[in-house]
């Protein structure tokens, strides 16, 4: 026993140590990761971000260098704060505050001390920088928007947040990432791949040479340039027309699905989201819950489509064989079911066939057609499912699959939808006649309507709308080059298109004709309501217009939506016609129409619900007339006077 004590102790200690080593080195250990080794400094080399061009090769988005003053608190040595503050143009209090914040964040990691110096400040500072230990200048690339238009399409870039870093380890604190628009959709193409250098540090954070002679270092790969389908002249014109209004314009080339213009109003100048003002300006845009400048009305606004949807019902009726083009329907200022008036109508000549039904936008005609579709089968649910299948083949009722990051599904109700709402088979065609005229449960976004117009113009197919035209050295996704067919036979389109053509010849848009261009269109007027102090209140109707031109081999399909613009041809119809003329002719001959749009504002209409006083709508209102908006003075939210612009728009005194 006496001989064994030390021996046993030695063996025990040895085994305990081996167990401890096993715990430290094998059991408790994650795979060695170079990126997490605090003894290795990672220095990133940021590549140039790809440029964005419009369809005609005009440069829209480039880069500009920006210089951030960074600080690593624990490397800071006593310095002449007075001189430093003077160079940076900050006060001593600012210095203390920022320094303490950086120190609290991490004494070891770099923090931004003063972001985005001007070039002159940078030049002066750079020479003196060596005097200030622990501070250094980090060069980054910011976006340089060479245009004031298309903020909703181009989007912007901003610093990654913690959630992105956790999900995508490529990004590190302080990296920039696309936040909206094509910057977000094509982030991986535009950003390139940053290069990385691994540098061995000692415990004083001093560099002591490359890690393993730079074996793991990589070079940056520059971002690729992209060309987008936007026609910047058309886009700019659309934004001009939308001044003082709210709504969206979507123009698509039906022959390939390229989005020619995507206007959302109100908008802002993309340059205000670059540089020092970004966070302040973004907050202001984000917090504006009335004008909602960040809300892309072309993609995200879901409204009842109104009358343009009637043409879909006409096509479904023909396809299902329940109506003929020659069938006439009598309209007694509405549709009557027994003695009950299910829907009203406006004054026009009666009876109408399909051609006049479309041209005059007769509600009675389409309720009649719609009831025939729904009552075709004994089971209304079955019939509605068939109807929904047809409607959805136009890209309605679901995401279109375009390459922009935001959107809405819209809604096409089917039999199951009403079974859920009313109970199985406890409903019939008379319950849901509003769908006949694009009200009721049907909802669509402007881009869906534009796409629908494209499908009609193409006589039965469409290409998925997209914003990408070209990627440097790559081909675009084949889903944008493969046509999608509707479930309607080609022969049924001609009479419907003729009806839409006659909308311009003799119908609701007869005054909007453009000489030399055969336009097919359809007006729309949609009732809408909001809650004011929990009381459902009706506002002036939305003005909607859907069109394509020319009639044969269309080059442009367009949907225009103007909030509270009253009837279809009043605002939306004029704008659609002007946009078509601008795109096809390149110039405007209907200057009267253009003048009318540019001199009329809806701002007083938008101010009404917030005035706190009772107000009138629709026919009882007067239109606000303003000085003609001039192209180069398009009211945009500029960097300096952002705080004023939207508010001024909303609160302008009523003018007549």
């Amino acid at each position: 026993m006496r001989k064994l004590l030390l021996l046993l102790t030695v063996v025990t200690v040895g085994l305990v140590f081996i167990a401890r080593l096993f715990y430290l080195q094998v059991y408790n250990k994650q795979a060695y990761n170079l990126f997490e080794d605090s003894a290795i400094k990672k220095v990133y080399d940021y590549p140039k971000r790809g440029y964005v061009y419009d369809r005609n090769g005009k440069l829209l988005v480039a880069n500009q260098p920006s210089y951030d003053v960074m600080v690593i608190p624990r490397e800071v040595e006593p310095l002449d704060t007075l001189e430093f503050c003077r160079l940076l143009k900050i006060s001593k209090d600012d210095f203390k505050k920022t320094y303490n914040r950086a120190k609290n964040y991490s004494p070891r990691l770099p923090s931004v001390f003063v972001p985005q110096l001007s070039k002159t400040d940078y030049a002066v500072l750079q020479e003196k920088m060596r005097k200030f230990k622990g501070f250094y200048i980090q060069k980054r690339f910011l976006r340089d928007y060479r245009t004031s238009i298309g903020a909703n399409v181009l989007g912007d870039i901003g610093e990654v947040n913690q959630r992105i870093i956790e999900r995508q380890p490529y990004y590190k604190m302080g990296d920039l990432i696309g936040k909206q628009g094509v910057e977000l959709s094509y982030e991986n193409i535009l950003r390139g791949v940053k290069g990385i250098k691994f540098i061995q540090k000692d415990r004083f954070n001093k560099n002591i040479g490359p890690y393993k002679e730079g074996r793991y270092d990589t070079l940056p790969q520059p971002g690729k340039d992209i060309k987008i389908t936007i026609d910047s002249d058309l886009q700019q014109y659309g934004e001009l027309l939308m001044t003082n209004k709210r709504g969206g314009i979507v123009a698509i080339d039906p022959s390939n699905g390229e989005i020619l213009a995507l206007v959302s109003a109100p908008s802002y100048n993309p340059n205000i989201l670059v540089g020092r003002g970004r966070s302040k300006n973004f907050t202001q845009l984000f917090r504006d819950s009335i004008a909602k400048p960040l809300f892309d009305r072309g993609l995200q606004a879901q409204y009842p489509p109104g009358s343009p949807f009637k043409v879909i019902n006409a096509l479904i009726g023909l396809q299902e064989g329940v109506i003929n083009t020659g069938d006439k329907v009598t309209c007694r200022m509405g549709y009557y079911y027994g003695s009950r008036k299910l829907t009203g109508c406006h004054h026009h000549k009666s009876p109408v066939d399909m051609n006049n039904g479309i041209a005059q936008s007769c509600n009675a005609y389409f309720v009649n057609a719609y009831r025939k579709i729904v009552d075709k089968y004994d089971d209304a649910g079955n019939a509605m499912n068939t109807w929904a299948k047809h409607a959805k083949s136009f890209g309605l009722g679901n995401y279109l699959g375009y390459d922009l990051p935001v959107g809405q599904k819209g809604r096409i109700p089917d039999g199951d939808y009403y079974d859920r709402a009313y109970g199985d088979n406890r409903w019939g065609s008379t319950y849901i006649v509003s769908n006949a005229i694009g009200q009721g449960e049907v909802e669509a976004t402007p881009i869906q309507l534009a796409n629908m117009a494209a499908a009609i113009g193409n006589r039965g197919y469409y290409y998925t709308p997209h914003i990408i035209k070209d990627i440097e050295g790559e081909t675009i996704d084949t889903k944008y080059t493969t046509p999608k067919y509707t479930t309607i036979d080609k022969r049924h389109f001609e009479p419907v298109i003729q009806g839409m053509f006659d909308v311009y010849n003799k119908g609701t848009a007869a005054t909007l004709r453009i000489p030399g261009i055969d336009i097919c269109g359809k007006t729309g007027t949609a009732e809408n309501f909001i809650k004011i102090d929990s009381v459902k209140t009706q506002l002036t109707d939305h003005s909607i217009f859907v069109a394509f031109a020319p009639k044969d081999n269309p080059k442009i399909a367009i949907a225009v939506f103007v909030e509270n613009g009253y009837w279809g041809s009043r605002f939306a119809g004029r704008m659609a016609s002007l946009m078509i003329e601008k795109y096809i002719k390149g110039e405007i001959t209907r200057t009267d129409m253009e003048h009318w749009i540019l001199t009329h504002s809806l701002e007083n209409e938008y101010a009404k619900p917030y005035s706190g006083e009772p107000f009138k709508i629709n026919g009882e209102t007067t239109l606000q007339v303003v000085d003609k908006v001039v192209a180069d003075k398009v009211e945009k939210l500029e960097n300096d006077d952002l705080s004023n612009s939207i508010r001024i728009n909303a609160n302008q005194p009523n003018q007549k």
Partner: protein, 426 residues
């Protein structure tokens, strides 16, 4: 003639090979931990690895010297060597040089020598001589106290020079006493003091008292043959409680703040997160860096000269007391386990040889050698991997430093010499 021919082979080559492996592997790690920039020459005297290589070279001169002396010399001159070593320690108070707050070095030109490293083998020799004396009886209290005195003289001198770690080494001679017939009760007392001290510090006085009561009750009822009286047991209990209280007072009022912190870290006594955070940055910095370096080595290690934390000098004192963290980082679990096994093999081999000695002097000395290696290895390696509170003592044959290397070499090779002579000791 026959005996003359085979004289050289009577040395225990297993021990010598183990020694060479440890010194060689140790030097590779010193090279890795101490090199700055490119390695131009292994004999670069401006670098620590270059100096250490010279120390190793001189070690062989020492070895030849030690082995060529008569084995009897060490027994005969044990007392004189001991007295010389003690005088060297005393001389430090007059001629010594302060390094890191400890007055343990003589400065000779640019060289420094640490006499406490040489005091160990001197003490082991003296102890062996005293205990192998026919008139010494380790069961008598008087002789026990004399033997303890031999140990206490260098231990106290070193403690006074503010080198508490080295003092701790002398407790290892307890194993020698025990082997040579110290009563069982001392072992029980030694274990009890350790357990009580930890209990009192970690869980408080009341827990320590309650545990003492329970243990004493169990002992009282189960030791039927030689049941102690109730009064004896109560006195024992009071002693235990008084001891526990004493430990707490000692911890609070006698230990220096850095020593308190080390124990507090080890037993995780500090609960205040702010103070704990502060501790992590200051007191525990070395420990955390060392554990991280070891842990980052993984199963196979990052490879010789490839350790990122070693190259970046993240672990302070890495070439001396924390050399084992280099092994951990660059050679991984396999390499560090190998080192642990080498040390175990060396100690067990020495124990085996000690048991086979015919002279009591050689056996006691061998036991002393094994004990000293054991305590150095246990405390140093345990500290580097975070099992034992921080105590600054070197890892034998691994840590950088001439005095340490020579001290341990002399300690070991005197035993090898004694062992080689056992055939003559009928």
């Amino acid at each position: 003639m026959y005996r003359e021919n085979h004289r050289g082979f009577r040395f225990d080559w297993i021990t010598i090979v183990l020694f060479l492996l440890l010194v060689g592997f140790g030097w590779l790690n010193i090279l890795s931990a101490s090199h700055e920039g490119e390695i131009t020459s292994y004999f670069d005297m401006s670098q620590l690895y270059g100096k250490h290589l010279v120390f190793i070279g001189l070690t062989f001169v020492l070895i030849v010297l030690i082995l060529s002396l008569e084995a009897k010399f060490y027994e005969r001159f044990a007392s004189i060597i001991y007295i010389a070593a003690m005088l060297a320690l005393v001389g430090l108070f007059i001629f010594g040089k302060d390094v890191n707050g400890a007055r343990s070095w003589y400065g000779i030109g640019s060289m420094t020598i640490q006499p406490s490293e040489f005091a160990k083998f001197a003490t082991a020799l003296a102890l062996a001589k005293y205990m192998s004396d026919l008139q010494t009886n380790m069961n008598s209290l008087k002789d026990q106290l004399r033997a303890v005195a031999i140990i206490m003289v260098p231990a106290i001198l070193i403690l006074l020079q503010n080198d508490a770690g080295s003092t701790l080494v002398y407790t290892s001679f307890f194993f020698v006493f025990y082997r040579e017939g110290l009563q069982q009760v001392y072992l029980i007392i030694a274990l009890s003091t350790i357990v009580l001290a930890v209990l009192a510090l970690k869980f408080g006085l009341i827990t320590a008292a309650v545990v003492s009561v329970i243990v004493l009750i169990i002992v009282y009822f189960f030791r039927r043959k030689k049941r102690s009286s109730l009064i004896q047991s109560i006195v024992l209990l009071l002693v235990c409680i008084a001891f526990s209280a004493g430990v707490k007072l000692f911890y609070k009022h006698v230990l220096q703040p850095h020593q308190q912190n080390r124990i507090s870290l080890w037993l995780r006594l500090e609960k205040d997160p702010v103070l704990l955070e502060k501790m992590k940055k200051e007191e525990a910095y070395n420990l955390i860096q060392s554990e991280q370096a070891i842990s980052s080595g993984g199963l196979f290690g990052k490879g010789f000269l490839q350790g990122t934390r070693t190259t970046g000098k993240f672990v302070p004192e890495q070439e001396t007391d924390y050399i084992f963290s280099t092994v951990g980082e660059e050679w991984g679990f396999l390499g560090s386990t190998l080192v642990v096994i080498l040390f175990m093999a060396l100690i067990i081999r020495i124990l085996y040889l000690a048991e086979s000695q015919k002279s009591q002097f050689s056996r006691v000395y061998g036991y002393g050698v094994a004990s000293v290696f054991f305590i150095h290895f246990t405390i140093n390696t345990g500290m580097v991997m975070g099992l034992i509170p921080t105590v600054g003592i070197p890892l034998p044959f691994f840590s950088y430093g001439g005095s340490g290397l020579w001290g341990f070499t002399i300690l070991l090779f005197i035993f090898i010499k004694l062992d080689s002579n056992k055939i003559n000791e009928w």
